[in-house]
């Protein structure tokens, strides 16, 4: 067993452990942190596969942005675990039965027989100076430009929906309108009143 394989097994063991803890830990904050751990180790495995750009993006986007947001939400909400766990034992037998069946079926198909090293051709060795990132960028802007553009529109949809669901204009709210401030004329602020002079 060479060093790479050893690293792979260590990372995989950590990842499986973390993934299990995500669903078993009682505290939702701990669960979120374990999810972070499993993402980081998955990033490590991708590095072993020489997909360095994806690994870094996984850590930056998922760990850096998504999970931090997640943690914020989890910490802000007061989640009552006892209510969530209600009915756990009554559903357990059916759930466990289906779960075990699914695992057996998946293990039969996804085992080494069909997806093992023998089943897949070895990827061609890369030359020195080969850049995974450049290759991805080239593909994104050429062959995959159609889904890439669609993805940008998809993000637009998400933005429009989020704004339309949360932006509210309450009445009686004191707000600053910069455009009104800029458009102010002298006449709006100062009123010149001509008064006849009065003698005392």
């Amino acid at each position: 067993m060479d060093f790479k394989t050893l690293v792979f097994y260590i990372l995989s063991a950590i990842m499986v452990f973390a993934a299990l803890r995500v669903i078993t830990s009682r505290n939702p904050v701990h669960a979120a942190l374990f999810l972070v751990l499993s993402f980081v180790t998955a990033g490590g495995i991708w590095l072993l596969l020489a997909a360095e750009f994806l690994a870094i993006v996984l850590v930056m986007v998922y760990v850096g942005a998504v999970m931090v947001l997640f943690l914020f939400v989890v910490m802000m909400l007061d989640i009552n675990l006892d209510r969530l766990r209600e009915g756990f034992w009554s559903y357990l037998p059916v759930g466990a039965l289906i779960g075990i069946l699914l695992v057996i079926e998946m293990a039969l198909v996804l085992g080494g027989r069909y997806f093992g090293l023998e089943a897949m051709p070895e990827p061609p060795a890369t030359q020195a100076g080969y850049s995974n990132t450049r290759e991805l960028g080239r593909l994104l802007y050429t062959d995959y430009v159609y889904p890439f553009e669609l993805a940008s529109l998809l993000l637009l949809v998400a933005m429009v929906v989020a704004v339309s669901l949360t932006l509210r204009k309450r009445k009686g709210l004191r707000q600053v309108h910069p455009s009104d401030q800029v458009a102010v004329k002298r006449g709006d602020r100062v009123e010149l009143v001509s008064m006849p002079a009065e003698k005392e």
Binding site: E105, V109, Y114, L150, A151, L153, V161, S164, L165
Partner: protein, 522 residues
């Protein structure tokens, strides 16, 4: 590796919709006062123009339309000649793939795009008054409808798992937002939440299945997948494993049993204008991706997926019809009826290949497509009637709200009767011919028991459709408010109801269009 700039021409309609969505977004930010009128007008124009463009750019479609029109007496032949000359100028003659094979322009796609764009346009028109009464006609609604239409067009023209998924998500995300559009209504929010969670689950299932198929065939492009399976380069066990997940995901999106749980709740909880939107065009898009994935990509596995579809279809037809009887809410009733109608669409799809013989395919798939199109026409009319009876501060949701409609307005009562008769499959309305053609395909494929079961269940289903008719004609009205609607809504709803009757008398044109589309595209 050389990169060739893709041919944008086949995707002209998609580009038009995308650009106009952005234009509407910008224009409505600046035009504060008239923003929603402007957005509505632009959206309608875009939808109609995009439908025209789709006709022009999709291969053979114009010629097929001309062939159908030339049968019409009086000016039909003359009009057909004009269309033919247009066809020579614009349309390509064969199936084109562009954007590195991610987009396919064929007649099937063109026809489905035209129908779904028009369905969205009609749904917007029916829903406008309803939204305005409830202070919901914000410009975002029209923007989201356009982006939803774009998603549907992408799905319909998808030739690659990635673009198919992108279109699906764009359509679904816009719909989730539209369901939750009435943000102060707890019921709408709950419906949106259910729709979102179950929809995300379905997308997950679909993606998992796609990754399995990719693992087995090494290709994401549907034609590449078909090639790889044909040459037996892929492992069958893995393929079938992926297929199960794909069928489950598709069943969620079509809303068939046992993946139907979201349908009644979402239909009932969403604002009626949005229910109208969900129940119409997205069904066509879901039909399109089912065709693309199962027939274009995984046709070699037809034996496997036909059995799966058979289970789904039987369960949907039985449960949809039985559960609809118990409903007192008309939106819920129509939701269950929609489930059973989707079961019929699946019946058409599963009759394609018999013992490895593919001669049945064309007939079966065109009957399924005809069924989907006629369901959309009927669904638009039925929810249009629900909207028509609603007014500011009042939702005509209970079936009892239709009581004595004949005394209040006999014309609309007659239209509703036509719709109900057609949905029940009573001759001679379009729903009858849709059911007939599907059943013919099923019998031809040798599944006589399936046809008998479907007919029995339709007879049971006729009960709840006829109950609405009975309530309209023989009960006393409890509500004597006159029915008010804008002129264009009255006109279009009447046209929609009459179309069901007229297409029922002359179904041949639409049927042959569907058959041409599949013949030219398969």
């Amino acid at each position: 590796m050389n990169f060739v700039v893709p041919d944008f021409y086949p995707a002209a309609a998609e580009i038009l919709v995308a650009v106009m969505a952005l234009v509407i977004m910008l224009a409505s930010t600046f035009a504060r006062r008239v923003a929603s009128d402007l957005a509505y007008g632009l959206a309608q124009l875009t939808l109609v123009f995009a439908a025209l463009v789709s006709v022009l750019v999709s291969p053979n479609l114009l010629a097929a339309v001309a062939a159908v029109i030339s049968e019409v007496p009086l000016f039909g032949v003359r009009l057909a000649e004009v269309l033919m000359s247009l066809a020579e100028g614009y349309a390509a003659n064969e199936v084109v793939a562009t954007f590195s094979g991610m987009f396919i322009g064929d007649m099937l796609g063109g026809l489905l795009k035209v129908f779904s764009l028009l369905a969205v346009a009609i749904a917007l028109l029916y829903g406008r008054g309803y939204l305005a009464d409830r202070k919901m006609d914000r410009p975002e609604y029209y923007l989201l409808s356009l982006l939803m239409s774009l998603g549907m067009m992408v799905m319909i023209s998808a030739n690659h798992m990635l673009s198919l998924y992108m279109g699906l998500e764009m359509m679904s995300l816009s719909l989730y937002g539209m369901v939750a559009f009435d943000r102060d209504s707890p019921r709408a929010t709950e419906a949106a939440m259910k729709y979102f969670v179950l929809g995300a689950l379905a997308s997950g299932l679909l993606l998992y299945g796609m990754s399995m198929i990719y693992g087995a065939t090494g290709s994401l492009e549907l034609s590449g997948i078909a090639q790889s399976i044909y040459h037996q380069a892929a492992n069958k066990t893995v393929l079938v494993f992926g297929l199960v997940f794909i069928v489950a995901g598709l069943a969620f999106k079509l809303g068939v049993v046992p993946f139907h749980m979201w349908v009644p709740d979402v239909y009932q909880g969403a604002p009626t204008a949005v229910t109208l939107m969900i129940s119409a065009a997205p069904k066509l898009a879901a039909f399109a991706i089912t065709m693309r994935l199962l027939v274009y990509g995984l046709f070699e596995l037809a034996d496997q997926w036909q059995t799966m579809l058979m289970f789904l279809a039987v369960l949907s037809i039985v449960l949809g019809n039985l559960a609809a009887i118990a409903q007192t809410n008309i939106k819920r009733m129509l939701a269950y009826s929609g489930i059973s109608h989707m079961g019929f669409v699946l019946l058409g799809l599963l009759a394609g290949v018999v013992d490895g013989d593919r001669n049945f395919a064309l007939n079966a798939y065109s009957s399924a497509m005809f069924y989907a199109v006629s369901y959309v026409i009927m669904s638009l009319a039925s929810f249009g009637m629900v909207i028509l009876l609603s007014r500011a501060g009042f939702e005509a949701e209970a079936i009892d709200d239709f009581k004595g409609l004949n005394k209040r307005n006999s014309w609309f009562a007659a239209l509703m009767m036509i719709v109900m008769f057609s949905m029940a499959g009573i001759p001679f309305f379009i729903g009858f011919f849709a059911k007939l053609s599907v059943l013919q395909a099923v019998v031809a494929a040798g599944y006589v028991w399936l046809a008998v079961l479907a007919v029995l269940m339709s007879v049971i289903g006729a009960f709840y459709y006829l109950r609405v008719v009975k309530i309209m004609y023989f009960d006393e009205p409890t509500d004597s408010t006159p029915i008010r609607a804008q002129g264009e809504v009255r006109f279009l709803l009447s046209a929609n109801g009459l179309a069901i009757a007229v297409l029922g008398l002359l179904p041949q044109g639409l049927m042959s269009l569907c058959a041409y589309a599949l013949l030219a595209s398969l």
